[in-house]
Amino acid sequence: MMKVYAIIVKELKEYMLKPGAISWGIVFPLVFSLAFIARFGDIDHLVPGLVSISALFGTTSFVSSSIIFERRLRTFERLLLAPVSYGEIILAKILVGTIFGLMVSTITLLLVLHFMTYPLWSVSLTALNLVLSNLTFAAMGVYISLAISNPINVMTWLNLVRLPMMFTSGAIASLTLFPHWFLPIGLVTPMTYSVDGLRYGILYYYDVVPPLASALAMVFMTLLFTLLSIRALRRLY
């Protein structure tokens, strides 16, 4: 665990201020949220979506920019040469992405809270769903960053996944407003569970997935993407 901690501290020092993490990870979600606040006065129903989008972009931008850098500059091989297991490397990458995503999504949440008509319903359930959302997205980001064989293409693939998710997850427009045939698409979108989980914590209602189910789904996806990432890393070297 000391090694995981050492890697996390190293990552924060090395990548926190890199352009990839700043632009897509911090600036984009905050500007996006501000744009919605400016456009619609009453944003209560949008808050879970905006927070989830911040978590998605914060985590995935951080982990992908760090992994792309490390694969291209071959600093990644430093970790592989050291007596550190693949599991420890993946765990560290996921946790540091989660920490960064939590920072960004918490800032977003505090920002949009100011513009809400009603107060936040449950701080603890919101916090729990925020942590699970960030874990899920960080693990997904690590997997995508390692599964793509040429690191130059990682950003393209990442956007191919995360931009449509903003619409298929009900983050911006509720899934209940879409035709029935769209629901399965919503249910296979990992982000749906984050949005509905957060919705329950913040607003005390959900659109399609009950709170326990969304929490379990996020735990399951975190584990799944963790295992897939370890396998992708093993394939890569």
Binding site: K10, L73, T75, R78, Y237
Partner: protein, 313 residues
């Protein structure tokens, strides 16, 4: 003879249909500098990557410090320090932060960090990204020593360095070896190969074409040296008189192939008197690695010409 500290048996790496390393076998003795020579693309880096566990071994076996590279990965990792062919420390971290980070990964005592910084005179508080390429390489070499490993792999450590930094790196290699470590050094620099290793292997197209002590290997390609000569005035009669040494022009000098340097010097003195010229510059050079390869593959194929048969070079 002491037991081998690195042993490769029929080591092979294939990428799809392409065989990068083709069944090589060799042993490195404890405490020696082993030079692994070959032109670009010969398979040097791939060999280092296999031996250090960075890439899987397609076929064959390898043992480092008595441990099986395929089965005892962690023990092998603790036994080796690897200096890769790029200086890959973390740019935004200072030299000291980089070393402290690696000390944590290797569970090495933190005293090692300050000791190494002092011993190798590194700028501790400077960010790695801000160092010159020479110091980056120096820091990368030091980083491989953090856990005090008995075996060091160095992959072309002087490549892309200026003359002064390259010299500094060569001195470091020698110092590491004097302090008792075994060094596996890859290079395509013949001068380096002439001065550093106790024994060398020459690899070409993934196969070992020569292995042994420096002089043994040199004898395989003949005892010829290149003599570079600058004379004034340069007359055609001089060139004519030196015909036997296959004279060639390189800028304003004559380059000759000479086997017996002493006899050649005597002959040159005679010529000077007879033909009336002055020698402005004379030096000897060892054959370049490309020439060594040409010679070796010529013997193999029994023909002159491009060593790699049909390659565009």
């Amino acid at each position: 003879m002491s037991e081998p500290i690195i042993k490769a048996v029929n080591l092979t790496k294939r990428y799809g249909d392409f065989t990068a390393v083709d069944g090589i076998s060799f042993e490195v003795r404890k405490g020696e500098i082993f030079g692994f020579l070959g032109p670009n693309g010969a398979g040097k880096t791939t060999t280092v990557r296999m031996l250090s566990g960075l890439t899987t071994i397609t076929e064959g076996e390898a043992y480092v410090n008595g441990y099986d590279v395929k089965k005892e990965k962690v023990k092998v990792k603790r036994s080796i320090g690897v200096v890769q062919d790029v200086s890959n420390l973390y740019e935004e971290l200072t030299v000291e932060e980089n070393l402290r980070f690696l000390a944590r990964l290797y569970e090495a005592p933190m005293e090692n960090v300050s000791k190494l910084i002092k011993d190798f005179n590194l700028p501790a508080k400077k960010k790695f990204g801000k160092l010159s390429s020479g110091y980056k390489r120096r820091a990368s070499i030091v980083a491989a020593l953090i856990h005090d490993p008995p075996v060091i792999f160095m992959d072309e450590p002087t490549i892309a360095l200026d003359v002064r930094s390259a010299k500094m790196v060569r001195e470091m290699v020698r110092a590491l070896n004097v302090s008792g470590r075994t060094v596996f050094l890859t290079t395509h620099n013949m001068v380096e190969a002439e001065t550093l290793p106790h024994r060398i292997a020459i690899i070409n197209h993934g196969r070992i074409v020569a292995i042994g002590g420096r002089n043994e290997v040199r004898k395989l390609v003949g005892n010829e040296v290149r003599v570079r000569l600058k004379v004034e005035p340069l007359k055609s009669s001089i060139i004519h008189a030196l015909e036997g040494y296959s004279p060639a022009f390189d800028e304003d000098s004559l380059v000759l192939k000479v086997e017996d340097v002493d006899a050649f010097m005597d002959e040159l003195e005679d010529l000077k008197r007879k033909l009336g010229f002055r020698v402005l510059h004379i030096s000897t050079e060892l054959p370049s690695i490309e020439e060594v390869f040409l010679e070796l593959t010529e013997e193999e194929n029994g023909e002159k010409g491009c060593a790699c048969g049909g390659c565009p070079l």
